[in-house]
């Protein structure tokens, strides 16, 4: 994973609450064995009109290039499919900012370098007002700004933040815990 210190991308407001993982990537696109190529089907049934052309009313279709999704509350509820953050990243979404994000989606997103950030209501309101503006997310500082003006603050788990800033994934860290894992297994085998 590449280090992520800063994300600079266009704010796109998707105000709907409870956007579930089936809306983000419908299940019929999950019959894949790779991570790549899911972007064209991100938000598929929402994003394309009946004729298969992009629906101009769908907010993400108005953006060229990378985006920061300013989403309604409880974004990413539903299934554990990591295909959801894979699809968003592949569709150019670099961050999702909401007042509430579902647990499994949030975990999955951050493990893939998709920033899943929770902000308070007032900050969210300011970000909604900034629809279409270029946002700058500073991972180390925990700030979101536009045109040099700070709009929102967020906190990340210190471990997650360190992984993002260093561009390391958690598997390497877990592999280094091997002696402790082996000791745990041995202690338990003796106890039972």
């Amino acid at each position: 994973m590449n280090p992520i210190r800063e994300v600079v991308a266009t704010a796109v407001v998707l105000p709907d609450a409870n956007v579930d993982t089936d809306r983000i990537i419908p299940a019929r696109f999950l019959t894949t064995t790779v991570r790549e190529g899911l972007g064209r089907n991100a938000f598929h049934d929402w994003r394309y009109a009946q004729d298969g052309k992009p629906d101009p009313k769908f907010p993400l279709n108005r953006v060229v290039g990378e985006s920061v999704l300013v989403a309604g509350s409880n974004f990413g509820c539903g299934s554990s499919r990591e295909h959801a953050p894979w699809a968003l990243l592949d569709a150019g979404v670099r961050a999702v900012v909401s007042t509430a994000i579902a647990d499994i989606f949030r975990n999955n997103a951050l493990k893939n370098g998709l920033l899943a950030l929770v902000v308070d209501e007032a900050a969210h309101h300011r970000l909604v007002e900034a629809d279409g503006a270029v946002l700058c997310i500073d991972v180390a500082q925990g700030t979101i700004s536009a045109g040099g003006m700070e709009l929102a603050r967020f906190t990340l788990d210190p471990f997650v933040r360190a992984c993002l800033l260093a561009g390391v994934d958690e598997l390497g860290y877990l592999m280094q815990r091997e002696p402790g894992i082996a000791a745990y297994e041995e202690a338990r085998a003796c106890a039972v």
Binding site: A17, D20, D22, S73, N74, C77, A100, N112, L171, R177
Partner: protein, 472 residues
């Protein structure tokens, strides 16, 4: 004196390999890893790319359920996969299990089935365990007093390689359900009531402990239905303290301990219940006497109402959009709405008692000519037991389809889908837009309610077709 601990805390504490610090989460040991074809191929690829082996293949239970057709082989001898990708996905798991030494309950295995149905019925899921799977409905296994939750594919890779996960300790929410259940009220109705009471995001960051006299009176199948839907309230896990019902269910199951090991296990398991005085971060109480046979009107599982209630007026943008998608009008009864498809199946409601409840209503009756009804057993074992008592013949005689085990129309990625605009009464767990096919409209209900709707060809109170002596 020890500090009183909750059920969750006891299971958590017993699995901490390394405690959390300010700068790092806890390392949590995983006792049982459930694997299926959809969320695992990219994780096995990571192991291959890094030259890693699986740490504990013997703690891994793999099966095929999501992408698998529920129709038998065709005349050509081929399984009717919905597309080449689905077939390739199944073959990838077959290859991965063979390469990494995992015993796959695949095609032809009597132990194949929906992973959350088959692992418990074989006795793999046991009290006090940590259980994970790349599937949000892993919460089902919490019915046994296990800490069981869904993970993404990256974490599937972590467990394959290290048998551990990095976790921050969640909070706990006690949902106390007390009182007797009324006539025709099923565990599904209780689950829907619990989701409505907690709210679909109310459980975020929490593990739910379901407790109270209603839960104590439930059999294991009912408790699984309840815990299955904890995730629909945003909680990654739901748990029920093990008791005599849990032990009676597990005794003699193929993977359950035997002899002295069984006796020791029972003592350990019964000690898992939350201690007197243990504190939950939040508590909610539900009076079971207020729960009636229910159906959902919206596009999230928190929208259940009593089947004889009126569709509520929209209170925000989301509920207005939901009503428009569902083509329902506020202030009118849901009962009487025409139904196109009925699905009895899924990890929520495809165990034997669920099929019996549906068959009880269908016996001697016919599925309405307007309705296509699929009955999909949760596992090969459920199929075998159901056929042994003739449930399949009841379904077929009524005009329903009796399929092979799988997730089928719950996630609708195997070709079992509803057409745009069709209204599906479904015993599954999610009524999201498009969940059962683009434009398909889903109404969640219990197996009895679903079967009743199939007969009526419209949404109907299941008590219409049940013995009425208890109906008051």
């Amino acid at each position: 004196m020890h500090t009183p601990r909750t059920l969750f805390e006891k299971v958590w504490d017993a699995h901490v390999v390394e405690h959390a610090g300010a700068d790092a989460p806890a390392v949590l040991y995983v006792d049982l890893h459930l694997v299926h074809e959809v969320t695992s191929p990219q994780a096995f690829d990571v192991l291959r790319a890094r030259g890693l082996r699986m740490r504990r293949p013997e703690r891994t239970f793999a099966t095929l359920d999501h992408s698998t057709p529920t129709l038998p082989r065709g005349a050509d001898g081929e399984r009717p996969y919905t597309n080449a990708a689905a077939k390739a996905q199944v073959e990838a798991l077959e290859r991965n299990c063979s390469e990494f030494g995992v015993d796959l309950r695949g095609w032809g295995s009597a132990e194949r089935g929906v992973v959350h149905v088959t692992a418990p019925e074989l006795g793999y899921t046991q009290p006090g365990m940590t259980v994970v799977c790349g599937d949000s409905h892993t919460s089902t296994h919490g019915a046994f007093g296990a800490l069981a939750f869904g993970i993404g594919t990256t974490e599937v890779g972590h467990v394959l390689a290290t048998q551990c996960l990095l976790q921050r300790k969640p909070k706990t929410l006690a949902v106390t359900i007390d009182g007797p259940l009324g006539h025709g009220v099923a565990a599904k109705d209780v689950a829907l009531a619990a989701v409505a009471a907690v709210g679909i995001a109310g459980g975020t960051g929490h593990v739910i402990e379901f407790r109270g006299s209603t839960v104590r009176a439930m059999d294991m199948d009912a408790r699984m239905t309840l815990c299955n839907m904890a995730i629909e309230a945003g909680a990654r896990a739901g748990m029920v303290a093990p008791d005599a019902t849990t032990l009676a269910y597990l005794k003699g199951r193929p993977a359950a301990p035997r002899g002295e090991a069984w006796d020791a296990a029972c003592r350990r398991w019964l000690a898992l219940a939350s201690d007197e005085g243990a504190r939950h971060d939040r508590e909610i109480a539900i009076d079971a006497r207020t729960i009636r046979p229910s159906v959902t009107w919206g596009t999230d599982p928190g929208t259940a109402i009593a089947i004889d209630a009126l569709v509520p007026a929209p209170h925000d943008v989301a509920s207005r959009k939901a009503l428009a998608y569902m083509k329902l009008e506020p202030g009118r009864a849901l009962a009487g709405t025409p139904v196109d498809v009925v699905f009895v199946g899924s990890c929520t409601n495809a165990r034997l008692p669920d099929l019996r409840a549906a068959a009880e209503i269908l016996a001697g009756r016919r599925v309405h000519p307007r309705v296509r009804m699929l009955v999909v057993p949760g596992s090969e074992e459920v199929r075998r037991l159901a056929e042994a008592e003739g449930l399949d013949r009841t379904f077929l005689a009524a005009g329903a389809e009796w399929r092979e085990p799988g997730c089928s129309m719950c996630i609708a990625m195997n070709g079992d889908v509803a057409a745009p605009g069709e209204l599906v009464v479904s015993t599954s767990n999610r009524n999201f837009e498009g969940r059962q096919g683009p434009g398909a409209r889903t109404v969640l209900a219990s197996p009895a309610t679903a079967a009743a709707c199939a007969v009526a060809g419209a949404i109907v109170d299941p008590r219409t077709y049940l013995d009425t002596e208890a109906a008051a």
